[in-house]
Symmetry: C2
Subunit: 161 residues, 2 copies
């Protein structure tokens, strides 16, 4: 089963996105996990490969089950792990073989062209506390059929209570 | 690829564990994700099936890549998603086809018989804030060969800052 990890930088009220050449859709930098990799290491490695920068304060924001369906049948199932970080170091690439790196205001996540499920999970990563979970059902052409979403916030334990 | 979700209840400084008959090893209640399920829904469903109770305040504590190795070769790879909750409702089973349900002090996680990787992740779930990530390398008999661990804590954003 394919496992993809991506990472959204949110810094000075802007997000760092990769504009992919095929459809001009925006994504967070990321890519395929390697065998034996942790999801955390995969997200940091893929981000660094695609941007030339190192994220700081990387933390998990979402875990998603992705179902690709054609004529009512599931033709593929994979997992997406979305991380966020609020800082980065290093000189960013401007353009890579994967696409063009661009900063956009957080609010632009509502309107920039992208897969509708990505809009749900990147807006959560940028604006909400905690971790989101869910299942996205897509056509093979990445039209969203349905989404089912849950989320949680960890209660902070105060040692003296 | 197999995906397992489990859930540790931590309540009144005690944890709810399932004693499995085969080796008398302790585990957190859980089981296999179904196709299309989110990891959150799988953890809650499996917990409820095995305990008859409903967890409250369920949140993710760990995501692990599990590598089973024999004579230096990987023979299986799967994913483990560990959740925690601090409350539950309903009448707990005492014994199920899966094993015996027992409450133990949190400190007992250090000494009760269990897979060594489970000891790492259940102690994290019970005692630490944030989310843990990592890879566990095991023999087919579940002797831990090696573990590689990372963790993160989300910075809380204060809207007025």
């Amino acid at each position: 089963m394919q496992r993809i990890a991506n990472l959204l930088i949110i810094k000075d009220k802007q997000v760092l996105l990769l504009k992919k050449p095929r459809r001009d859709w925006y994504v967070a930098p990321g890519g395929k996990m390697e065998p034996g990799e942790s999801i955390f290491k995969a997200a940091v490695r893929e981000f660094t490969e695609e941007t030339n920068a190192t994220p700081i304060g990387t933390h998990l924001k979402g875990v998603y089950t992705m179902m690709i369906q054609e004529q009512g049948k599931t033709v593929d199932e994979w997992m997406l792990f979305t991380f966020a970080a609020n800082h980065l170091t290093g000189d960013l690439f401007k353009e890579t073989t994967e696409g063009i790196l661009e900063w956009h205001p957080v609010e632009a996540l509502a309107t920039l062209p992208m897969a509708e499920g990505d809009r749900t999970n990147l807006q959560f990563a940028a604006n909400q506390q905690g971790v989101q979970y869910g299942t996205f059902y897509y056509t093979p052409e990445f039209q969203l059929i349905e989404e089912s979403i849950q989320s949680s916030i960890e209660e902070v334990n105060h040692p003296n209570e």
